[in-house]
């Protein structure tokens, strides 16, 4: 793939991660630049989720460095967090808040994205009629789409997603894949694990298999 010329984006060098003194992975290096997608593959327990949590800065790697635009992400702290959005296994949707309230909160905690209002974001994931519905009354697939709508309301450049297609139907998957394509086309970055094949047409994709 084309090398990223300058030191922009995410640069991982010699990352290692251990769990219960078993090496999940070591000496893992990659660069993720504008418009690129990182797709993580590997068996269950191969460390995909751990790697994503390291990329989020929630977990310290046991070895190696992680730089964003040339700066250590743990030194950047909240400044780095303003650049990322994460949807994990626990999708962070508050059951007792409405869809709109959930998004308003996500927007307030990050750097608001002027391109998407709350309504526009809900519209984009086809939840426009559900703004005032409590999240607990949405179906599993709708809740997932709500969680993914969070990606739109902040100005995050790097989306970090752990199994984003869980409980989505084929139409839901189409919606989310078009979100990804738009994000990459606009110079965004993506780091994703998925059992479901991610079709990103002609996007610049880096594949890493943690099982090998």
């Amino acid at each position: 793939m084309a090398a990223v010329a300058t030191d922009t984006g995410l640069n991982a060098r010699h990352l290692a991660c251990m769990r219960n003194d078993r090496n999940l992975f070591e000496q893992l290096s990659f660069r993720l630049g504008c418009g690129q997608a990182l797709i993580l593959e590997g068996r269950n327990g191969s460390g995909k989720t751990s790697l994503l949590r390291i990329l989020c800065g929630m977990r310290q790697p046991d070895d190696g460095r992680l730089h964003w635009d040339g700066e250590d992400i743990f030194r950047l702290g909240p400044e780095y967090h303003a650049q990322i959005a994460y949807v994990g296994h626990r999708d962070g949707v508050k059951q007792d808040l409405s869809a709109g309230e959930n998004l308003r909160l996500a927007r307030g905690l990050g750097a608001p994205n002027p391109a998407f209002s709350i309504e526009a974001a809900l519209d984009r994931v086809e939840l426009w009629e559900h703004e005032d519905v409590l999240a607990r009354n949405l179906s599993a697939g709708q809740q997932r789409r709500l969680a993914l709508a969070r990606l739109l309301v902040t100005r995050a450049k790097l989306w970090i997603l752990d199994e984003p297609f869980t409980s989505l139907d084929s139409h839901g998957i189409d919606i989310v894949e078009s979100l990804f394509a738009n994000h990459l086309a606009g110079g965004g970055m993506l780091a994703v694990t998925s059992h479901h094949p991610v079709s990103l047409n002609d996007a610049d994709i880096i594949r890493i298999n943690l099982s090998t």
């Binding site: 989020c56 967090h81 994460y86 626990r90 962070g92 508050k94 909160l105 996500a106």
Partner: protein, 227 residues
């Protein structure tokens, strides 16, 4: 991040936690009932002699408040941990300690402040004088936020544990001792008709200290628990 966005995030989170508590308002009563129940157990256990009750009332009410505060602690971070909201706070663009402070303040408004409403009633049940009840309210006002702030550190350390409850009490109760001593003694002193400015100043000092230090420790503990 600018101060404006920091203030907005703080207010937003405070509003969110109060709203969530309001939507589950039946649960609000539980710590309060516990507080009343524990206090009424004492006369049944030690006898109903008014002089005896008046003498031990400050200690009883404050120990009951301590236990009620501790039992309600679990709700500070538990549900946010389970649904993944806590992870979102961790990687939000705002400093975690500020968000923690907003959550602890909301928690105190929900579980600490209501104790003040029933405390006078308990004071009457235990034959406390008017001056003592006034002192009790003042000490609760200054002391219960300290309990929430210190307790938050303990919850943050145990939030990932399946059975964190017992350990939490082991971690938190020894740290509550200074509050208990100053507060209960203030109530007893005022019952004897003596001034309690020194006690109140000490409690206020504890409050200032814990407001400034505890969010930092809680944020650090959350980062470790979630790693």
């Amino acid at each position: 991040m600018s101060t404006a966005s920091l203030n907005r995030a703080f207010a937003l989170l405070l509003w969110r936690d109060l709203l969530l508590a309001f939507r589950r308002r039946t649960e609000l009563l539980n710590p309060l009932l516990f507080f009343v129940l524990v206090t009424t157990l004492f006369p049944l256990g030690i006898g109903a002699d008014p002089a005896l009750l008046r003498a031990v009332a400050p200690g009883i009410i404050w120990v009951a408040a301590l236990l009620a505060a501790m039992l309600s602690l679990d709700s500070v971070f538990r549900s946010d941990f389970e649904d993944g909201s806590l992870e979102q706070f961790l990687i939000s663009a705002q400093p975690l300690s500020v968000l923690v402070l907003a959550k602890v303040i909301a928690h105190w408004l929900i579980t600490g402040l209501p104790l003040l409403i029933v405390a006078p009633l308990l004071g009457l049940l235990l034959h406390m004088s008017g001056a003592s009840i006034a002192a009790l309210l003042l000490t609760l006002l200054l002391g219960t936020p300290v309990l929430s702030l210190i307790g938050a550190i303990g919850v943050a350390l145990t939030v990932g544990l399946r059975r964190g409850g017992v350990i939490l009490s082991l971690l938190v109760l020894p740290l509550y001792i200074p509050v208990l001593i100053f507060a209960a003694d203030a109530v007893a002193t005022s019952g004897a008709g003596l001034p309690i400015t020194a006690h109140l100043s000490l409690l206020a000092a504890l409050l200032v200290l814990s407001v400034s230090l505890s969010p930092l420790a809680t944020a650090a503990a959350l980062k470790i628990s979630l790693s």
